[in-house]
Symmetry: C2
Subunit: 527 residues, 2 copies
């Protein structure tokens, strides 16, 4: 499949008429062909009109058909074969094995939602049957299902060009819910975006779905993204990216005549807590594993460990020595874009010049497209006194905060903003100390993990990739895992509705009703 540089507006591939984006080889800085045209306001309007037109039809497709659709997207992505992998490696600068793994995750994610649709319980059906004899008033028959919100605008992330982009978690969960999707492609990987977009468009055609079910737009500036969020036919937004970007979209969404929800996953420094017993027993091993997590994908993970908290002492010193030795062996890696590299270098530079921050180690130096890992150290007083030390430095940079005792660790934890993850390294003798911190940590993060790092995000049913502000704009949501579908649906209650007017899933004789609640009590059993 060739890359044409065109927008995908429903079934049509058309040249964007508003400015041009060039893909850049992230490892070499070379410009890649072809150029991509940004969407004009008219082209944006067409995509929105088609999405709105598709909505009522698409949302009432049988869940099994949407499952087939998601599986067809997965198959079509795999069928792109090496062309997709090579383009994606080139645009992202990420290693081939990582991109292949990410493709597996993307396809697995689509299949997870397909399985959920076949199981049928994402509708969260509820039935409170009529009680005509009830005193003093009879009770009406009430039946509840969830319906999709409407067309969803998806803003892909640069750091996961497959799993958090055109066919990533936001798109998969919105399509599963029954929402048409318009993706605003990330300018860092337009060719990858077009290839995946064509795979989705092909699945729309294979399943004979309304063409407006999916569109893909490029944006040579900010106008397309802003216009999408402002468009009256868009009913929700999925975004992964910077805090400033997420907040800008939230402001647009809140100022609409009809405000809409924005699910933005924005920033996190993912505190790692090292407990005394674990440090005493295995400081060196933890330090080495930490260096691996810190530098994975050049540190360009939302769940990258940007902050380490521990009580000062011999154990922490050994952790630092080990981490420093490991970092010194790790080569510099290409970063996703020049802009990200620049921001990373600025962030590291600010820390390096901070009067109360000490440099612990650097990774190997690289060329002018590559980021050099960095590890810094400070004490709790300095950290608590200087708010900017809490800011995310996107990339392989981390700050270790030496604390006097557990109480000081708690003060630092309580001073932090919301996080996606927090990781605890502990042994049996640390459980009591960990237990006292857990209430603070639960209030802090969406995922708490033990003896690991947050950089592996399992796509499952019990995963939360979300957390209190500013990790996400809505801490009640997750953008990874099957619970992500809940973002894009709303409940509707049907009262005394004749059976032939009820949606199929709520009819008394429904063959689809897999799991439901009768007067609040769950019915139906796992098979």
């Amino acid at each position: 499949m060739n890359i044409s540089g065109e927008l995908l507006i429903g079934r049509h591939a058309v040249r964007g008429g508003a400015g041009t984006i060039h893909a850049i080889d992230a490892s070499t800085g070379a410009t890649l062909e072809p150029p991509f045209g940004g969407a004009t306001p008219e082209q944006l309007d067409q995509a929105c009109a088609l999405a709105w037109q598709a909505f009522d039809t698409y949302r009432e497709t049988a869940p099994e058909r949407r499952a087939d659709f998601l599986e067809a997207i997965a198959a079509n992505i795999l069928a792109l074969g090496d062309a997709l992998i090579e383009r994606c490696v080139s645009e992202s600068g990420l290693p081939r094995a990582r991109i292949e793994g990410e493709r597996g995750r993307t396809v697995g994610q689509l299949r997870l939602f397909a399985g959920m649709l076949r199981q049928g319980d994402f509708l969260e059906l509820r039935v409170d049957p009529a009680q005509p004899e009830r005193k003093p008033l009879p009770r009406a028959d009430l039946r509840l299902r969830h319906i999709p919100l409407g067309p969803v605008a998806v803003f892909g992330a640069s750091n996961f060009p497959l799993a958090f982009s055109v066919a990533g978690g936001d798109t998969a969960s919105a399509l599963a819910a029954g929402c048409p999707v318009i993706v605003k492609a990330h300018p860092a990987h337009p060719g990858t975006s077009e290839l995946v977009g064509r795979a989705i468009r092909q699945a729309v055609q294979e399943l004979d779905l309304p063409e407006g079910t999916f569109s893909l737009l490029f944006d040579a500036g900010l106008a397309v993204g802003q216009g999408l969020v402002a468009d009256r036919r868009i009913k929700a937004v999925g975004f992964t990216g910077s805090r400033a970007g997420g907040m800008a979209l939230m402001a647009i969404a809140a100022a609409r005549p009809e405000p809409i929800p924005v699910f933005a996953e924005m920033s996190s420094i993912n505190p790692v807590l090292l407990f005394p017993q674990a440090l005493a027993n295995r400081a060196a091993a933890i330090g080495e594993a930490f260096a691996g997590s810190l530098t994975l994908g050049a540190g360009q993970f939302c769940t990258n460990p940007g902050l380490v908290l521990a009580v000062a002492g011999e154990g922490l010193d050994r952790f630092l020595e080990s981490a420093a030795a490991s970092l010194a062996r790790i080569g510099a890696q290409s970063m996703l874009t020049r802009g990200i590299l620049r921001a990373y270098c600025n962030g590291v530079g600010t820390l390096a010049q901070h009067p109360r921050v000490q440099a612990v180690a650097r990774g190997q130096a690289g060329n002018d497209m590559q980021g050099q890992a960095a590890l810094f150290c400070t004490d709790a007083d300095a950290f608590l006194a200087d708010e900017p030390l809490r800011h995310e430095v996107f990339g392989a940079s981390s700050l270790v905060v030496r604390c006097r005792d557990l109480a000081e660790i708690r003060r630092v934890v309580e001073s932090l903003e919301g996080q996606l993850t927090t990781a605890l390294h502990l042994d049996a003798g640390d459980h009591d100390a960990a237990r006292t911190l857990l209430p603070s940590l639960e209030r802090l993060a969406g995922r708490i993990l033990v003896n690991g790092f947050g950089t592996g995000v399992e796509v499952g049913h019990a995963m939360v990739h979300g957390g209190p502000w500013p990790a996400t704009s809505d801490g009640r949501s997750t953008s990874v895992g099957s619970l992500a579908i809940a973002r894009f649906v709303r409940p509707v209650s049907y009262q005394d509705m004749p059976a032939d007017l009820l949606p199929p899933s709520l009819r008394p004789d429904s063959p689809q009703r897999h799991t439901w609640r009768l007067d609040g009590k769950p019915q139906g059993q796992a098979d």
Copy 2:
């Protein structure tokens, strides 16, 4: 129990130091004793500090204990006996039977959430067990529960001084979720608020819960409410009231350093659709029932039928005659406050003077505290041309829109903003017509009901009292029924957490785990 006019800040009853509110007898206009003092900024800060202090303890109380707490509140409200009923009738101007019924609903609502807590499944537990042998990477053990957001600020409504006020649905669902609650009392029923607040405070003491679990504040202006929503320790807001009020709180919440969700139930005109066959068969009966729903509680219901759509013709004429005749027999009723009465009279006056609106009927005239019901008529062209005709007139006023045909009804429906309810009056011969409108109606409202009116809101599991903007600030939520608890919780995932550090509900040997999902599949059966 005497009414003292004091704030309830945790266990202390203290005189508010910022201004004074006087309760007014809604039927006579007389000032009622005692005066109530508004909270100072320091008193507001105390209530927030206590709520925050209570949070970690209260949220980890066993669900059974919170169930006992909610049932104790219900018992204490009932124990207030006639003193509560009389004060509430006096402050609201609503009939005694209505207030007694509302007390039953309030108590039933508390017990519904108690039952849900005993059942234990509001936590929506999920377990994806470890797969140490999985290739290429082992799978970690992931366990998910929902935890409460934090202290919740509740703003009661004037029109349901018990069921949507101090111990109403917002408070009941927040307390059930594990959130401490601070209520900003509605100035229209401060005595009722204090009595109910004392009933809750007594239950806090009976169950030996942290004193900050509940506080009640009066506000002589807007500062206390605004300050509450802006306070960093408040993590969510429940509000029922005007659109302007809800939007003001949303703006404050969005501008915080940490934005928080506001669940505001604001405005709705609840379109009623009369289908041809139903009108042919029983226009007069529908007209009479409509007049009853319109004037219930002086029309001061969020679900009051403020708009009627039907195809012009003989059937609609008979409906109008019947409704007019019924209204003429219905006496004027006291309205909740002078301000509401004034706004109602203004709204009715504007309609009466509108060049393209015809007056159909008025209810009986009353005294200067009473609202006189009003029914108007216009045509679809006029309605579509003049946006203000779509605005809510809070009270017993409704506008009938004569349409040419079903297509014009659809155009009117599609022109409307989001609604709490829409009601369809139809007979067997109308099903095909109704079916074609259902997609539009599902996008329009949170509850669709057949051959009834929205003014009865059942407190159950399949109820939705919510709807797209501006019916509510978040159309994905309901403020009535057991699903209301979902507003106040967020998911947290625990990865590879040792059993003794897991919360009790997620331990492998948990006795509490009533319903849960294993690898996404629901487990456990209704008993």
